[in-house]
Structure formats: C-alpha cells, structure tokens
Subunit: 361 residues, 2 copies
C-alpha cells in the first residue's frame, strides 16, 4: 500500500484511492480517452468542487461541460434521466464522450445509468465524494434509479472506465452523511470479514474523526472486499453478490415508505442490519453476544437501529414481497450466522420478521 | 433447410423460423424457463394473435399475463417504458419472469429495453410479427426508444433468450408494412451479398405475393446475414456492424423530422438507400449501372426513393450531425461501392450530400 495513490485492479477497470486531488492531475488525464467530458453533479457539490475538477483539464485538449441537477435521493428517478439525456442531445454529443459522476451514490447511480443508455452506451468515470459512494456504490457497476413503487427498480449493470477516490472530499461531508457511509462499512465486516469487524470496533472513534490512516485503511479494505465479490459474481447470478444486500431488504422498505427523502440510505440500511441480526438471533443462527456486538457498533457510529415510528411490521412485509432478491414470492433474507459469515435464509416466516421488528421498536 | 422449422444458432440464442404456429407449441414451452410470461403487444396485434399465443400455454404450469400498449412508432419513447414498468411493479413481478414481445420492431425494441432495465434485467423472447422485425429488428440485441431529438437515442444492447419467427403472421400484415420490410431485405443484399441481390431481382414479385418458398428463403437468408455480422461485432465496436446502418443516417433524419408518424421506418430507409447510392455514384464509387439497378429494385418493392416534400437538404444535414455513428462531428456515411460491397466513407462533404438529395427530389 503506497502512501498517496493506491490502485486496485481486481476488476477490469482501475480503482484509484488518492489524497490531495490537486497533485494527481495526471491520473485523470491518463484515464480519459475521449476529448469531451461532461461532469454530472448537483448544486451542493458544485459549490465545493466543480471548479477544482474543471481546472484539472485546463491547458489540455479535453473539453469540459457540466450538467447540474438538484440534490437529493428523491430526484433519482426516470424523469431526471430524461432531462439529462435531453441536455446531451441538445448539445449534439456523440458516443465519443465521457460522463464524469462527481458526487455521492445518487449522482453515481444516475450518471452511470445515463451512460449505459445514452446512444446505447458511452464511457463514464466515477469520482465518489461521500464515504458511502467511496466504499460501495461507485464500485461494481450497478447503476439505476428509483420508482415510486420501489428502490432501484430500474437499472442496468454497467462498468465505469475507472473509479477515482479522493479521500480529501470527506472533509466537507456533513457528519450525518459520514455516519450513513459507515453502515455499508459495517455491513461488509459482518457478512465477510471478522478481523475487519474487530478492527472497526477498535478504531470507530478514529474513523469518526476522519483520522487519515484509519480512513485510508478503511476505504481500501472495503474496496478490496467489494471488488473481490464483484469479480467473482459480477451480475449477481450466483448467491455471492446477493450477500452485499445484507440489511437492504428492510432498508429499501424504509426508503420507499418514506418516499426517498427523510431517511438516508445508510440509516435505513443500519436499521435493516439490526432487524436481520435480530431475526438471526431469534432463529438461533447467531449468538446473542455477537448480535449485541453488531448493535453496539452501529450505535457507536451514530446510526439508528429502530425504523421510522410510523412504520408497522406489515409495511415492511408489503415492500419486501416486491424485493429484487425474491423468486416466486417467497421472502429470502440474508442473515449473519456469526460475525464475518452470512447466508441466504430461504422462505422466512412472517411471524419471526414481525417479532424482530417489534423487539427493536 | 428443413421444411417446417429452421433453427439458426450462430449467436448464443436460437432463432427459429416456423410455419403454422399452432403445431409448434413445444417450441415455446421448451424455450421458456420461467413460470410467468408477460406478453407485450399492441391493440392491433392483440385482435389477431393474443388469444392464439395465450392458448399455447393453456394446460401448462406457466402463467400468462399481457400488457397492451397503443400502436405506433410515436409511442416508442421513455414514457411508455415508464408505464410498462409501473404495471410490472404494481403486479409485484420479480426478476423471474419472461417478457414476450409480440409485434413488429416497435414492440420488440420497447419490450427488449424494458427487459434490460426492469430490476436490472429479466428474460425476454422475441416473437416478431412483421417482415421488418423478422428479418432485422428481432435479431442482434439492439433495443431502445426514440427521443424527440433523435431516433433510437436511448437504449442498450440486450440479448433475447430466443427469437421465434412465424411466417404465417405475415398474412395479416398490411401491404404497406410488407413493402417497408423489404427495405431492410434489399439493404442486406446491397451491402453484403450480390448473389442475394440478383435473387431478389428475380423473385421480387413472388415475394410481394408472399409465395411460401420465396418468403421462407428470404427470411432465412436475412437472418443468416444479420447473425453473421452480429456474432462477429455484437456491440458495434468494429466497423462491421456499422454497415447495417446503411441508409439509416438519412432514414433516421426523415423519421425524426416527421415526428415518428407518417413515414414508416422501411420507407425512410429506402430513401436513405437511394440517397447514399446517389452520393456513391457522384463520388464515382459505384457505377451508374449498378446504382440504377438498386433504385429499380426499391421501386419494384413499392418503396419510395424521394424524401418528404417539405424536407430540404439542410434539414437532413442538421439531423445527421447528431447521428450515433459520428465521431467528433464529422459526417461519415456507409456507401455501396458495388452491389454486395460497402464501405464507411469518412468525412463526406456537405455539397455532395446536398447535390444527391436534390437529384432525387
Ligand atoms: N450502485 C450501488 O452499488 C449502490 C450501493 C450503495 C448505495 N447506492 C445508492 O447510493 C445512494 C446513497 O449515496 P450517498 O449516501 O452517497 O448519498 P448522496 O449521493 O445523496 O450524497 C449525500 C449528500 O451529501 C452531499 N455531498 C456529497 N459529497 C459531498 C462532499 N464531499 N461534501 C459535502 N457534501 C457532499 C450530497 O450533495 C448529498 O446531499 C442511494 O441512492 C443508494 O441506493 C448504490
Ligand atoms: N432493434 C433493431 O435492431 C432494429 C432494426 C430495424 C428496425 N428497428 C425498429 O423497428 C421499428 C419498425 O418496425 P416495424 O416495421 O415492424 O413497425 P411496427 O412495429 O410499427 O409494425 C408495423 C405495423 O404493423 C402492425 N402489425 C404488426 N404485425 C402485424 C401482423 N402480423 N398483422 C397485422 N398487423 C401487424 C403493427 O401494429 C403496426 O401498426 C422502428 O422503430 C425501427 O427503428 C429496430
Ligand atoms: Zn447500500
Ligand atoms: Zn432499420
């Protein structure tokens, strides 16, 4: 692990983790093979970083344009996709362009989806600016948008040309967004890596303070874990990649029920992790001691373990039946059987789910 | 070539050409691996064939549902995609479904695009009912929709599970639609196969009368030609598949200018073929004798060689600049250099294009 630039090449696109963007100009230049870049970002991120990114390409032959969309998960829908495509077509952009996603998971998912369907596919680069997008959404090629009837229901698998992770972006990230990112970090450790979970328990305070070494190791570790899974099971055809949806069945139910606004993705996932852990405990798959360690770590990261007050167990059940993971209307859930190990539990009974949700109320 | 069922396996999905659907029930049953089929078709085709298809699955464990959309190229847009997805989500369909496209190119392109983005991809089967879709659009995995600013500007590459071509469908096809299909047939012969062009010249009248042997050979030949190209250059990364766009640069300009209504796709392509042939003649790439043979064959198939009266040369040029084939705003065109042979002519001058269009006015 070099000090300033880590390149991971486990899939067929590079994932580069850097610090201090301003000295890494060549990284961008090397990775882009078209003469036209269109940065897609939102109003919030624009004020912080748009000029910086544009400046990188000053004095080069590469032309830069940008499309600014409103900020928020509730704009991650088919109508914003149409708006962006209309803008691209109005400027007569050919297939020979690179879309650059500058933002969190929302911007990344939207930009990638546009890239996958604009003139049947153009290049795109992920430049994730949130912890959540740096450790999770920018990697793995899942792109898409929400539908009022369900989270991420419209999308494709589409690979970025490269992923450039600048850790310095995290300095301006609101604390609540930072915590949200740790939900996915904790997720990886529970389903895949006990040693990493132990490390997180010991370093959570350093991480929350954005300690340089701790954050660098944490992001690197998560990228490695995700890339390993994705390189084996890119399109979620085997059950391996499905494990990454741990906590997401309940999480997506919350996000959809709350109309993609008030709850952050990571917060919803945190509750989902808590519920799934409780179910596992009730089903005697995981020990109470380990279940408690999971709940404690979530709390230490300032993450919620109870869902929205107004959501009753049957609200979760209704949404769960429409989950992408289900085959033939049976509810399957990813459950941790011990810290670092998880399984897909088939055809789970509604009573246990209800019980677990009530416990955490 | 067996008498009743031809299977072509040049790509990794079977293309089956059959006659008399009613006796080939097992073909469908064998090819579908999900327990739920959703037929997507339009109001016109519904009255002719929906019951027939539904009956095939009577007394099987496979459940059938259908979504009926309005008839017409002008409905091939993102808004219909959203409508179909909403219907699928309302019925809580999981990823474990097969969409069955029952119709012409419009239904096939729409259904395939929905299949490619619904929950990140479900299976789909093409059951093309027009000559154009049987010889061209159902094969090759290009799916998508139009945008007011351009034809097929939104889409993906997504393979069907199989293509089932029932020649009997052609009996109810309006004559004008039949002629439209021959534009793509003639296209193949000009760019790829001189012997086939000669055969078409000799058999065009039999074909227009839907003579069984002639139509069977014609569809088989076109499928073979397209499959060969697609198997070598699936995603149009080499220039080979680009050749299939012969005539389409001008054709798409006409369709877009006319707002996807009055002109049929094949009619627009026929004019495009005529203009490109004229340009080739002006550029001394093809002999006048061969150029005339091309124009004559188009006319014999009752196809137009002049564009809409109201379209001036500069209307074509404007649209052409936004064409998917262009790289860096230079207009590239596919030109026949002799019957059976074509090239991508780079950076063509606007004067010659204007001249050719004026010639055909
Ligand atoms: N594609 C995948 O594999 C995948 C995986 C996990 C999550 N996701 C998706 O990711 C989305 C959540 O992503 P997110 O948590 O990054 O949310 P987000 O994209 O909404 O970003 C969070 C907020 O932080 C702001 N912001 C971003 N970077 C900033 C910075 N550096 N400084 C200051 N403010 C900044 C944004 O404007 C936004 O208001 C969800 O839609 C989720 O479904 C996708
Ligand atoms: N994906 C590709 O590779 C590809 C290739 C070529 C064309 N296309 C697309 O295909 C579309 C044109 O397809 P098309 O020419 O089949 O038009 P279409 O789908 O509009 O069908 C033509 C008309 O015939 C009717 N019809 C269809 N089958 C019938 C039958 N058996 N009996 C009676 N009526 C019938 C339809 O309802 C419609 O009114 C265009 O949108 C074009 O862009 C796509
Ligand atoms: Zn997530
Ligand atoms: Zn065509």
């Amino acid at each position: 692990m070099t000090k300033y630039c880590i390149t991971i090449n486990d899939v067929n696109y590079p994932v580069k983790i850097i610090k201090n963007l301003y000295h890494k100009i060549n990284i961008f230049k090397q990775l882009i093979s078209t003469k036209q870049i269109i940065i897609i970002t939102n109003k919030t991120i624009k004020t912080f970083y748009l000029k910086t990114i544009k400046n990188i390409f000053k004095n080069t032959v590469i032309k830069i344009d940008s499309i600014i969309i409103p900020d928020g998960e509730k704009y991650k829908n088919l109508s914003i996709i149409n708006n962006i495509i209309t803008k691209l077509l109005k400027k007569k952009y050919t297939k020979n362009i690179t879309l650059l996603a500058l933002g969190g998971g929302v911007i990344g998912d939207i930009t990638g989806f546009v890239a996958s369907i604009y003139k049947r596919g153009v290049q795109f680069i992920q430049v994730p600016t949130t912890l959540l997008s740096q450790v999770d959404s920018s990697i793995g090629g899942k792109v898409g948008v929400n539908h009022i009837l369900g989270k991420n229901m419209i999308g494709t698998f589409y690979k970025p040309t490269s992923v450039i992770i600048n850790l310095d972006f995290l300095k301006t990230l609101p604390k609540r967004e930072l915590y949200s990112g740790f939900a996915e970090v904790i997720k990886y450790s529970i389903i895949l890596d006990k040693a990493f979970f132990n490390w997180l328990e010991n370093n959570i305070n350093l991480l929350l303070q954005l300690n340089k070494e701790a954050i660098e190791y944490c992001v690197y570790k998560c990228c490695k874990l995700k890339l390993k899974i994705v390189s084996i099971d890119e399109k979620e055809k085997k059950s391996l990649r499905t494990l990454l949806n741990f906590g997401h069945t309940f999480g997506h139910a919350i996000e959809t029920y709350m109309c993609y606004g008030t709850w952050l993705h990571g917060e919803a996932i945190s509750v989902g992790i808590a519920i799934a852990t409780k179910i596992s405990e009730l089903k005697k798959q995981i020990t109470s001691k380990e279940a408690n360690r999971i709940i404690t770590l979530l709390k230490q990261a300032h993450l919620p373990i109870k869902g929205p007050f107004e959501m009753k167990p049957n609200h979760y059940i209704t949404y769960m039946i429409n989950d992408k993971k289900n085959i033939n209307n049976k509810i399957n859930l990813i459950l941790p059987i011990s810290i670092g190990k998880s399984i897909i539990y088939q055809n789970i009974d509604i009573k246990t789910i209800t019980l677990a949700i009530s416990y955490l109320k």
